[in-house]
C-alpha cells in the first residue's frame, strides 16, 4: 500500500534521511522506532509531503507521489496525524473532524450531511469527542486532543494513516487508552504506520517493525524477531 524507496530528505542543507526504505502492506500496522533524532518524524514528513524529498520514491498504492504538495498527497488518500497533534485550536471539535474529510466534501453547503456516516463512526470510537463537539479544540486536554487528531485522520477514510508519536506528553493512563484505540483500528483493518517512543508497546501491536538509526533503517523484522535481536533489546527495549 505504501512503499518508501531509498528516501533522502532534510531541512535546508542538513540531510536527515540518508536512504530510508520501508514498506507498509494493506491492512497492517507497521511500527517505526528509534532514538530521538534518528529521523522518524522526518520520514513521516517526507512521506506526506510536508518536506520535499531530495531523492528516492514514495509510492502510494503503486503510484509515485514524492514531490507533490502535502494537500495533493492528502487528497490521494494519505492521512498524517502529525507530531504534537496540531488540532485547529480556535475551531470546534466537530469542525476539526469535518475538515479531516475536506477533500471529499462539498465546499459550501450540505457538507455536514455528506460527512454524517464518517462522523458517526468517529463519535462511536471516541464518545468523548461527541460530548465535546461544540467545544473549541484548543480547550481539550492533551489526551482528548490526541483522540481528535486520530479521529480527524480517520474522517477522510484514508488508504494509509501515519501516526506520529500519539503518546507524546500524555499521562500513562491516557497512553494506555491511546494504544487500545490503535488496537481497535488494527482490528478494523486500518493500514497504519506508527512512530512511537514506547517501543515495547508499539511492538506489541505491530505486525512488522523498522528500527531507525541516523537517517536509515538499521534493523527490520517482525516484533518476534526484534524481541530476540540483542542490539535492539539493548538500545530500545531494555
Amino acid at each position: 500500500m505504501l512503499q518508501v524507496e531509498n528516501l533522502y530528505a532534510g531541512y535546508g542543507s542538513s540531510e536527515v534521511l540518508t536512504g530510508t526504505t520501508l514498506q507498509v502492506k494493506r491492512g497492517s500496522v507497521v511500527a517505526l522506532i528509534g532514538a530521538n533524532g534518528a529521523g522518524k518524524t522526518t520520514t513521516m514528513r517526507a512521506i506526506s509531503g510536508m518536506i520535499r524529498p531530495t531523492q528516492g520514491r514514495v509510492l502510494l498504492d503503486g503510484k509515485p507521489v514524492q514531490g507533490a504538495s502535502a494537500s495533493q498527497i492528502a487528497k490521494l488518500g494519505l492521512a498524517h496525524s502529525p507530531e504534537g497533534r496540531k488540532v485547529f485550536g480556535p475551531l470546534s471539535v466537530e469542525d476539526n473532524l469535518l475538515l479531516g474529510a475536506y477533500a471529499h466534501l462539498p465546499l459550501f453547503f450540505g457538507y455536514k450531511g455528506k460527512a454524517a456516516t464518517e462522523l458517526a463512526k468517529v463519535y462511536a470510537l471516541f464518545p468523548r469527542l461527541n460530548e465535546r463537539k461544540k467545544q473549541a479544540a484548543g480547550t481539550l486536554s492533551g489526551g482528548e486532543q490526541q483522540m481528535l487528531a486520530i479521529g480527524r485522520a480517520l474522517m477522510a477514510n484514508p488508504k494509509v494513516i501515519l501516526l506520529d508519536e500519539p503518546s507524546m506528553g500524555l499521562a500513562p493512563v491516557i497512553v494506555q487508552e491511546v494504544f487500545s484505540i490503535i488496537c481497535k483500528l488494527k482490528e478494523a483493518g486500518v493500514t497504519l504506520l506508527l512512530v512511537e517512543q514506547f517501543a515495547k508497546s508499539a511492538l506489541e501491536i505491530a505486525d512488522y517493525a523498522y528500527v531507525m538509526e541516523r537517517g536509515r533503517i538499521a534493523v527490520e523484522g517482525t516484533p518476534a524477531e526484534l524481541n530476540q535481536n540483542e542490539r535492539v533489546i539493548a538500545a530500545y527495549l531494555g
Binding site: 494537500s71 502529525p82 485547529f88 457538507y111 506528553g169
Partner: protein, 292 residues
Amino acid sequence: MNLDILAQMVVSGALMGLIYALIAYGFQLTYATSKSINFGQGELVMLSAFFSLTLLNLGAPYWLMVPGGLLFGAVMGLIVERACVRLSLEQKSEGWILLTIIFGLLGFSSAENIWGRDDRPFPSPISADALNFFGISITGLEIAVALGVFLIMSIIELFKRKTLLGKAFEAVSADRDAAELMGISATKTIMLSYGLSGMVAAMAGILISPITTVGPTMASALILKAFSVAVVAGLDSGFGVVIIGIFLGALESLTSFYLGSGWREAPGLILLIMALAVRPNGVFGKANIRKV
C-alpha cells in the same frame, strides 16, 4: 461645552471610523492566512472607486456598479497576491513588503495618468440631506456607510463560520501545516483571502467616495488610519477593529474640532505608537502563547 455639538462630533467621527475599520478588516483577512498584508491597499480603495465611477459614467446603473466595483477589487487583490506576495512567501522572505508598496505606487501613477489628478464628485442615489435623530444630524450617505460596512463584514464572517471553505480558511489561519495535511491548499486559501481583501477595499472605496470625492490621493490619509486601527486593535482581533475604528474616528473629529483641523491626523499616529510601545499584539489581539 455644548453637549449637542459634542454628540454630533462623536457620531459623525464614529461613522467615518467605520471606514477605517472596514479597511483594517481587509488587512486582517490576509494577515490571518499568510501573515502578510498589502501595503498598497489604499491604492486598491482608490482604483476601485475610480473604476466604479467609470462604470457609472459609461451609463451602468447603480445595482450593476456595486458588484462590478467589488469584482474589480477582488481581481486586483488576486493580482497583488500573485505578483507581489506568493513567491516571497514561498521563499520565506519579506519581499512582499517592498513589492506591495511598489504596487501601490504603480497604481497611484496609473490612476493619475488614466483619470487625471483632479478630484471628481461621485454621484450617489442616496440623498446627502441630513436627517435629525435626537438633535444629531446624520446624512443618508453616512447611514449607507454604516449599513454597507456591517453588511459586507457580516457576509464574510458568515461565510467563514458556516461554509466548509470558510472553516478551511480558519484552519489555515490556525495552523497552515496541519491544514495542508487535511488536503486544504494553503496557496489557494491565501488567494481567497487576497480576493476577499480586495473586495473589502473596493467596498470601502464605493462607500466613501460620495462623501469625500474620488481622486488619486483620496485614500492616502485613510490607509494610514486604517493601519493604525488594525495594529491598535490587533491584526487578529476580528471585530475589535470596529470598536477601535469607531473610537479613533470619534477621537479625530473631537481633536480637529477642539484643537484645530491641523491636529486631525495626530490621534491615530499617537495611538499607533502607544500600541506598538505598550501592547504590540493590540488591544484585542491574542498574545502569542504557543501550547506544546
